[in-house]
Symmetry: C2
Subunit: 289 residues, 2 copies
């Protein structure tokens, strides 16, 4: 167990800096920040990745790693209205000498990242996020007892201040995860989406006021949930998405195994997606202590 500190903080990227960064990558800025994908697909320019200099920080040492990532695929539940992944086998070792599949899926499937660009036309896409933000102290706020009886339970400012009363201030540069115990429902996927008769989803998420507290009054790099959405199921206004992401923070949804992670003292390592102009995508995340 350790309490790492990120020594060099990468400031939130202003629109001006974003455009500079995008230009430095040789990518047409407008095409990326507007998510106009067609023009990118026809543009041979963005293939070259410049050599990246290292980010400097102090991290570790560690003695344990826990996988925060679910196995996902065509049967993994998706946000109501989204399309499930489709996997097509192209070859097997027995039939073709090697085994290979064609994957088709919406970016927001499985344990996945929401990049700022997912809800902010001026926000960074996942491929452009600073990697220093992918190595962070991991704070786990546990609302599982409440979620057991209330599928619409939300992580509130009171939950944050109660956590801090026990554990001290949220460490600078933290990734803050909300644990609701929801993954126990993955054995019956329909109960994970949990639609009512009117087609409204019911599962826990971050309250908008908690998102505002974390973005405006704490120093975080991102926020996570073990459910399908940063916002709780019935949300009609996506207020938590609209607070975290335009606030320059990334999200991770459908996190696994948070119930085994200490409230304070672990760190997260985020293997985020790096396809071009990513609004997000499947992400490998580890907790290390």
């Amino acid at each position: 167990m350790c309490s790492p500190e990120i020594m060099v903080r990468v400031a939130d990227v202003s629109r001006r800096n974003f455009l500079k960064q995008t230009a430095a990558l040789g990518v047409a800025a407008g095409a990326v920040h507007l998510g106009a994908f067609g023009s990118l697909a026809q543009n041979a320019t963005p293939v070259a990745t410049p050599v990246s200099g290292p980010a400097t920080f102090s991290f570790g040492p560690f003695t344990q790693v826990t996988d925060l990532t679910h196995v996902w695929g065509p049967d993994f539940p998706v946000f109501a209205g989204a399309t499930s992944a489709v996997f097509e086998n192209l070859a097997t070792v027995d039939s073709g000498g090697y085994y290979n599949n064609l994957l088709t899926y919406e970016e927001h499937t499985g344990t996945h990242m929401d990049a700022p660009a997912h809800f902010d036309a001026d926000g960074l896409t996942a491929d452009l996020l600073p990697i220093a933000n992918f190595f962070a102290p991991l704070v786990v706020i546990n609302i599982a007892a409440r979620a057991e009886t209330d599928p619409d339970a939300q992580g509130t400012p009171d939950d944050i201040t109660a956590w801090e009363a026990t554990n001290g201030p949220i460490p600078a540069g933290s990734f803050v995860a909300l644990y609701s115990g929801w993954e126990s429902r993955l054995s019956a996927p329909a109960t994970f989406v949990n639609l009512d008769d009117a087609g409204v989803q019911h599962y826990p998420g971050w309250h908008g006021e908690a998102a505002a507290l974390l973005v405006n009054e704490r120093d975080i790099v991102g926020a996570g949930v073990d459910t399908l959405s940063l916002d709780y199921g019935p949300s009609a206004d996506f207020i938590s998405h609209l607070t975290f992401l335009p606030g320059g923070k990334y999200g991770i949804e459908n996190l696994a195994n948070l119930g085994t992670i200490p409230a304070l003292g672990a760190s997260i390592i985020v293997g985020g997606p790096k396809h071009i102009a990513a609004s997000g995508g499947p992400t490998r995340a580890y907790a290390v202590t």
Copy 2:
């Protein structure tokens, strides 16, 4: 800089253990190890991921991280005969309130993992690989000078023994990467695949005898290249794939930035794909020192 040691080694998984592990995941064993994808897609069982216990090791501390991952997409070069990725924009912030894309690609695209199952019907798929093997000492063997004049340059047993003469024995549990400098060609993708008039690819890779040396006479978790294939371009027999993968090692192809990593002293963190029954897939990899 540091020389981490993985304290707990995960032994290569025998077929018997593989079937046990697969059964423990609630996945039909035959369906996975044969790569028979259709039956999985119709099977609601594999959704639930069991709570994973942590893996125990000693890793770090670190002060720098370098991204070993290329930005990839429809324009990123693919192995001759494979199909390029297709990205379709589904919504933008301006048009729909949020930005989201549909991705379609073969698993072996971009900076990506080859799981043992890619060339071994009894091998582990990427989603089942032990995560302890994703945190490893990183050895970089540099053949860039030779590759500059010979596009068919291979990493040979002599390159390995020359590396060891300078740096000492390859540390136990290492990931061994071959650096050829090939990524400079990504600005002109056709030169990265480098087909000759007969349609044969020309780029560097591991010599089969080097693969055999690493698998049989050293203790490695995996091997990497900065080109499209573990085998050099003209290979007709895929001998290096057929040595590393059935040997229980994973591969990573199209690695970035290896030229900035010391020959010895860095470690790799591998954010491998975790979709079900993965033969491999896009992978986020970091070098930490």
